[in-house]
Each structure stands twice: as structure tokens, then as C-alpha cells.
């Protein structure tokens, strides 16, 4: 039975979520779980997503790249670049060129040992080096989002992974043209540079234009639903137009996201949050597809040598290059020490470039009927699998070491984790129903409590006297000497319970136009706490500040 595309998508998303859940239990980033499930159900495993389905699902991957690119672009606020632009640029050049140099030299040397052909070895080294300079923004950013990371390292990582795709494309264009010249192909350097220029500039211009257009449309959008629809429509157009004109989908979407966040920051921030939630199943499927696409067939042993050197050399090149780039650009020590650890992931751009190399270099025979194009495709596929398993874990390690995990939280996130019992005041002074108003005022004067439960002889709560309800009694001093607490108390409504979620309770209080309420035990009627909206908000803010590490 052939599985329909919708069923495959369903299996992919559910399988991915299951994988993520299992890996999260092991404290491993969820993205590795998605890829692992992809491996199991893909070409190298059960074959549920095989050679037939992969081309069919390719447009889906491009759409996912557009979503990812847009969200990554949405993180690139101009003010950060004004402050750290030079440093991020220095680090990006350092890590990209570092990987390019070490991987290029090492793989070229191995190819020379195997083939004895200097031109083919240099050509292979250039292409491997160029591909190795790319960092996968998708899985890197996924880890940052999963662990709600925030801080200088997080900003640095997002900026560098967003920028280094352009460097990888440039190095690839130069490398492939040089390789073509070296192995006698028909590659025209000027033609390639022109194509590259069109690709980079075209992606930037199209993306910026879409970002501005979107900003204008959002200004006139009346509802959040309409805004999300406009945004998704825009991303579909970006993906479609980029593919039609052979532009880079991710760069184009990134430019659109960056333009929007800098042109209309207040309008776009909530929308980006909504898109992030909306895009979740699309991400899952994208990474499952990454795993499913990888093909681990039997390869000659020297190719495994290339794979091993590529992974080790790229890791060293990225880390050392980052360190050098950060030192030279006078980056803060935190970036010098840890940013390189977050740049090991390799994904869509590298795989895409290897596919292009597979076509460009298919005519260059290396050894025993194996062409250079196939060598590049096989090696990059294997290295992608390895670094995708290592890379996200290293990102997590880096943000853990710098203490940036869990800092990207909002008040809503904190509220969602709390119940009323977490924020209510439990040490309460009570007022007996028979106490005179004189005594009641005295208690308010001597206790830092905004509301008092009024209790009967057995201690059961009958009602509440709040500072607000006392206001009307300030001027009626005639009655203070003979009116009792029980005469002026307000009955308790018992709508909010200690176990109620804080979000629900706060919403109810606002609806009821009440600032505080006393909670009582459902069976004994004894007062158990005071839930005060102002104190609850203060408690949430305190927790937020603690969590953000401000």
C-alpha cells in the first residue's frame, strides 16, 4: 500500500514529536529527536519517506525554510547591530574562513593522497571548504528557542548563523568556479560571480521589499487572525518567487523578517510570536525530512576519512576561527570563549550546496569510476548527520555555561506556570465578626494587610473587609463605636480557589473589578490565604527578573 502524502506528514509530525519527547527526557535538544525519527522512517531506515516521497515533499521544506528564515530575520534588530555589528561580522568571517581553510586543506590533501590528481584535489578541497563554512540557522535557533535563551551569546549566535549563509554562498561560487577552471570544465568565473551577485542582492531586495509591503499591510490589518494570514501568504510568495528566480529562500525570508522587525517593531513582535507557535509542526516536519533524506550507503573507506576529517577540521576551524575573529574585533570574552561552540550545526544550505556541487562536478572522475560530485554529496550527507547530532547539543552546552537558558521568558510564561496558592499570602490576621469598627481600623493601621477575613467564633470565614470597602467608612466616625465588623463585611464569592490557575484567577478578578479576595478551605471554611492582584503581579515580576537574570 502506498501511503498518501497527508498520512506521511501525519506520521512525520507525530513521530517527530515522539522523538523530541524521548530526547528531551534525556536532556538532549528536541531537534536531534526530530532528525533521529527522520532517519528511522526515511531512506536509511524503514523507507516510509523514500525516494518517491522526498521530491514531493520538497516544496514543504522550502516553505519551512521561509518560516525559519523569517523568524531568524525577526531576531535581527538594528540596535544590536549598531552595538555589536563589527564584532559579529568579525566572528562570522573568522568562523567561516577558519572552517573553509582547515576543511579545504585537509580534504584536499586526503583527495590528493587517494587520487594523486592535484587539480581534482584542489577542486574538491575548495568545494568542501566552502560548504563547511555554512552553519545551519534552523537547528541552532531551534535550540535557542526550545530553551528560551536570551543574552549576548544568544544574540551573537543568531546574528552569525544568519549572516554566514551569504559567506558560504560566496565561497562556494568562488570555489566552484576555481574548481571548474582547475579540472578543465566550462565554468565561467565572471558568469558565476554575476549569478552569485544576482542571488545575494536579489534575495536581499526581494526580502526587504516584502518586509516593507508586509509592514504596510499589517498597519491596515484589523485582527491578529488577518495579520497571520497575510504573513503566511507573504512567506508562501517569498518561497515561490525565490525558487522561480533561483534566489535563496532563507536569505530572502531573513531579509523580510529583519526589515519588518526594524520598520515596525511593536506591530511585528506579537506577530512573530504567533508565527513561531503556528510554524511548530512545520519545523518538526522539516527536521524529520532532514533525517529522512540522509542516505548512509556503503562507501569506500577513504571517504570515511574525508568525513572524519571534515567533521573534526570544521569543528576546529569554526571554534578557532571564532576565537580569532572575536579577538581581532575586540568582542567581549564571553563571545570569544563560547560562541564557537554554538556554530557546529550543518543543515539545509550545506546539503543544498552539495547537491549543486554534485551536478557541477559530476564529470570529474576521482578514482574507480567515482566522480567528485558524488564524493561531495556522500561526504556532506554523512557529515551533516554527524554534526546535526553534535551541533545542537553544543549550542545547549554554550548557553548553559553562559547562564542564558530560560531567560527569554515573559510575564505570561511565568503566570502560566503558577497557581493561586503560589502567590497568595498565607499568614493572615483575622477580624472577629463581633469586633467594633474602632478595632477594625486599628488592625488596618497596624498590619501590612490589604484585606482581612472576618471570622465567626469557630474561626470559619464569613466575609472580608478590604481597604477599599473601608473607604466609605472613614467619614462615618459616628458609627465606629457601635457598628461591628460583621455589619460591614462583604460576603466571599468563592469563585477563586487556591488550586485555580493564576491566569484564570487574574482574568476573573479583572472581570469582577476586584483587587483582592480571601480564599477559604472548602470543608472547614477556615481562611487559607489572601489573593491580592497587586501582590500577585509583584510576585510575577520578581520571578521574571530572577529568571531573566537581570
Amino acid at each position: 500500500m502506498e501511503l498518501g502524502i497527508l498520512l506521511i506528514l501525519g506520521i512525520g509530525v507525530f513521530g517527530g514529536i515522539l522523538g523530541a519527547w524521548l530526547f528531551q527526557k534525556l536532556h538532549i535538544p528536541q531537534v536531534i529527536g526530530y532528525i533521529a525519527i527522520g532517519l528511522i522512517i526515511g531512506r536509511s531506515g524503514l523507507g516510509i519517506i523514500g525516494d518517491v516521497q522526498i521530491p514531493t515533499l520538497r516544496p514543504f521544506s522550502f516553505l519551512a525554510l521561509a518560516f525559519i528564515g523569517f523568524l531568524v530575520g525577526g531576531e535581527l534588530e538594528g540596535k544590536i547591530f549598531k552595538q555589536y555589528g563589527r564584532q559579529f561580522m568579525g566572528i562570522m568571517l573568522g568562523e567561516g574562513l577558519g572552517a573553509f581553510a582547515i576543511v579545504g586543506l585537509g580534504t584536499g590533501f586526503i583527495l590528493w593522497l587517494v587520487t594523486g590528481s592535484l587539480p581534482a584535489s584542489i577542486a574538491g578541497g575548495l568545494v568542501f571548504g566552502a560548504i563547511s563554512s555554512a552553519t545551519d540557522p534552523a537547528s541552532t535557533v531551534d535550540v535557542l528557542w526550545e530553551y528560551r535563551s536570551k543574552g549576548l551569546l544568544t544574540t551573537g549566535l543568531i546574528s552569525v548563523v544568519a549572516l554566514d549563509d551569504a559567506l558560504a554562498l560566496t565561497l562556494y561560487a568562488l570555489g566552484t568556479s576555481l574548481a571548474g577552471v582547475l579540472v578543465g570544465g566550462e565554468v565561467n568565473l565572471m558568469e558565476l560571480l554575476k549569478t552569485l551577485g544576482i542571488e545575494l542582492v536579489g534575495s536581499g531586495v526581494l526580502g526587504a521589499g516584502c518586509g516593507l509591503g508586509l509592514s504596510w499591510l499589517l498597519k491596515h490589518s484589523k485582527s491578529a487572525d488577518r495579520s497571520l494570514t497575510l504573513l503566511v501568504g507573504c512567506l508562501l510568495l517569498i518561497a515561490g518567487v525565490s525558487l522561480a528566480f533561483q534566489l535563496d529562500v532563507i536569505l530572502c525570508a531573513m531579509a523580510a523578517g529583519a526589515t519588518l522587525i526594524n520598520h515596525a517593531p511593536h506591530r511585528s513582535k506579537p506577530l512573530l510570536e504567533t508565527l513561531r507557535a503556528f510554524a511548530s509542526p512545520i519545523y518538526v516536519m522539516f527536521f524529520v525530512m532532514v533525517g529522512a533524506r540522509l542516505q548512509l550507503a556503503a562507501q569506500p573507506s577513504w571517504l570515511w576519512g574525508i568525513v572524519a576529517f571534515y567533521v573534526v577540521g570544521r569543528t576546529i576551524g569554526k571554534y578557532a576561527g571564532t576565537w580569532i575573529g572575536a579577538k581581532l574585533s575586540k568582542s567581549p570574552p564571553l563571545l570569544q570563549r563560547y560562541l564557537g561552540m554554538g556554530l557546529f550545526a550543518q543543515g539545509g544550505v550545506a546539503v543544498g550546496l552539495s547537491m549543486m556541487a554534485g551536478q557541477h562536478l559530476s564529470g570529474v572522475e576521482v578514482i574507480g569510476g567515482l566522480d567528485l560530485g558524488s564524493v561531495v554529496v556522500s561526504a556532506v550527507t554523512a557529515t551533516t548527520l554527524l554534526v546535526q547530532l553534535i551541533g545542537p547539543a553544543c549550542v545547549k552546552w554554550a548557553i548553559t555555561k553562559t547562564g542564558e537558558i530560560g531567560r527569554n521568558v515573559t510575564e505570561e510564561d511565568i503566570i502560566a506556570t503558577l497557581s493561586v496558592s503560589d502567590v497568595m499570602q498565607t499568614e493572615l490576621t483575622t477580624i472577629k465578626e463581633g469586633e467594633l469598627l474602632n478595632q477594625v481600623f486599628d488592625k488596618f493601621a497596624h498590619h501590612d494587610q490589604l484585606s482581612f477575613p472576618v471570622v465567626d467564633q469557630q474561626g470559619a470565614c464569613l466575609g472580608v473587609i478590604s481597604i477599599d470597602s473601608l473607604k466609605s467608612l472613614f467619614v462615618e466616625q459616628d458609627i465606629w463605636g457601635w457598628m461591628l465588623a460583621g455589619d460591614v463585611m462583604v460576603p466571599i464569592k468563592d469563585i477563586i480557589k487556591a488550586s485555580s490557575s493564576l491566569a484564570d484567577a487574574m482574568e476573573l478578578m479583572i472581570q469582577m473589578d476586584t483587587e483582592e479576595t480571601i480564599l477559604r478551605d472548602e470543608t472547614s471554611g477556615l481562611p487559607i490565604g489572601l489573593f491580592d492582584l497587586r501582590s500577585a503581579k509583584r510576585s510575577v515580576s520578581k520571578r521574571l527578573v530572577q529568571q531573566q537574570g537581570v
Binding site: S469, E476, W482, L484, G486, P491
Partner: protein, 156 residues
């Protein structure tokens, strides 16, 4: 915004709930007023109202001094704030006022639990009214319930 004293009193008092009584004990007078309040159609559960009035008296007597009693209660079976007034022929010695003086003028007030603000305001208005000796004398000197009603209305 709190209602003015006149408006509150107008809404709460009617000529049919003003009495010249001849009770000999506090409980007898309170029972009489409770019964009359129960007949006016604004108290759905007179029994609950009676319990509430006497429970409040158990906590502390509502004899507020100067010969005045203000028994009162808020319960959910009362539809709106209402009151009754009685001037007893003799001062009741067993009222246990805060100044130990016998009580001759009684204002009974009933309201709903959620009417805290208006309820307190009405009690304060009554307290202010009877603090003036001329008002107390006028009330004690009234010959008919009509005259009594007009004295209260005109005092505000």
C-alpha cells in the same frame, strides 16, 4: 457614588412602617417590627430575617446610646434596603445600650449582603439624625404615626 441621606431614607421608609408601640420588653418590640417588616413584601424569608436580627443582638446590643436602638441585618432574602421606626410608650430597660440608658426610639434596618455601602450610609444618617436632642424630643413627642413620619422626613 453613594446615594444622599434623603434619597436613602425615602427609599427605605414608608408611612406604613412607622409605629407608636406599647411593648414592655426589647424582644417584644423587635418581634413586632420584624413581623411588620415581613408583611411589606420586601422580605422573602421573615424567619431568616428574625434569626439574623437576634444573632446580631447576641454579638452586641444595637442600643447605640441616647435612648436609641438600631437593630439591623443584611441577608440575601431581603430585596432592597428597608426600615421600620417605632417610638415606644415606655423606655425599655432591658435593651443593654452602650450607655446603659433605656431605649425608647428604635430604627430597624434590613438590606442585602451586597448593599454594604448604602446600608452603612443609611445607618450613619440615622445616627446623625438622633444625635440632635431636638430631633429626639420631637420624635418622643409625636402623637401619631403620620406626625412621626413627617418629623423623620423633615429632620433631614
Amino acid at each position: 457614588m453613594a446615594e444622599s441621606g434623603t434619597l436613602l431614607l425615602d427609599g427605605a421608609l414608608s408611612p406604613q412602617r412607622v409605629f407608636l408601640t406599647e411593648a414592655s420588653t426589647k424582644n417584644e418590640l423587635l418581634d413586632l417590627l420584624i413581623r411588620e417588616m415581613g408583611l411589606c413584601g420586601e422580605v422573602d424569608d421573615p424567619q431568616a430575617f428574625e434569626t439574623a436580627i437576634f444573632t446580631r443582638e447576641e454579638l452586641m446590643s444595637t442600643g447605640i446610646g441616647l435612648g436609641i436602638g438600631v437593630p439591623h441585618a443584611r441577608i440575601s432574602s431581603v430585596r432592597r434596603i428597608i426600615m421600620a421606626v417605632a417610638v415606644n410608650k415606655v423606655a425599655l430597660e432591658d435593651y443593654e445600650s452602650i450607655d446603659n440608658l433605656p431605649v425608647q426610639i428604635v430604627f430597624m434596618v434590613a438590606g442585602r449582603p451586597d448593599q454594604q455601602s448604602s446600608y452603612v450610609r443609611l445607618l450613619a444618617v440615622l445616627s446623625h439624625l438622633v444625635k440632635q436632642e431636638s430631633n429626639r424630643k420631637a420624635l418622643l413627642g409625636a402623637d401619631s404615626t403620620e406626625q412621626l413620619y413627617h418629623i423623620i422626613r423633615n429632620a433631614l
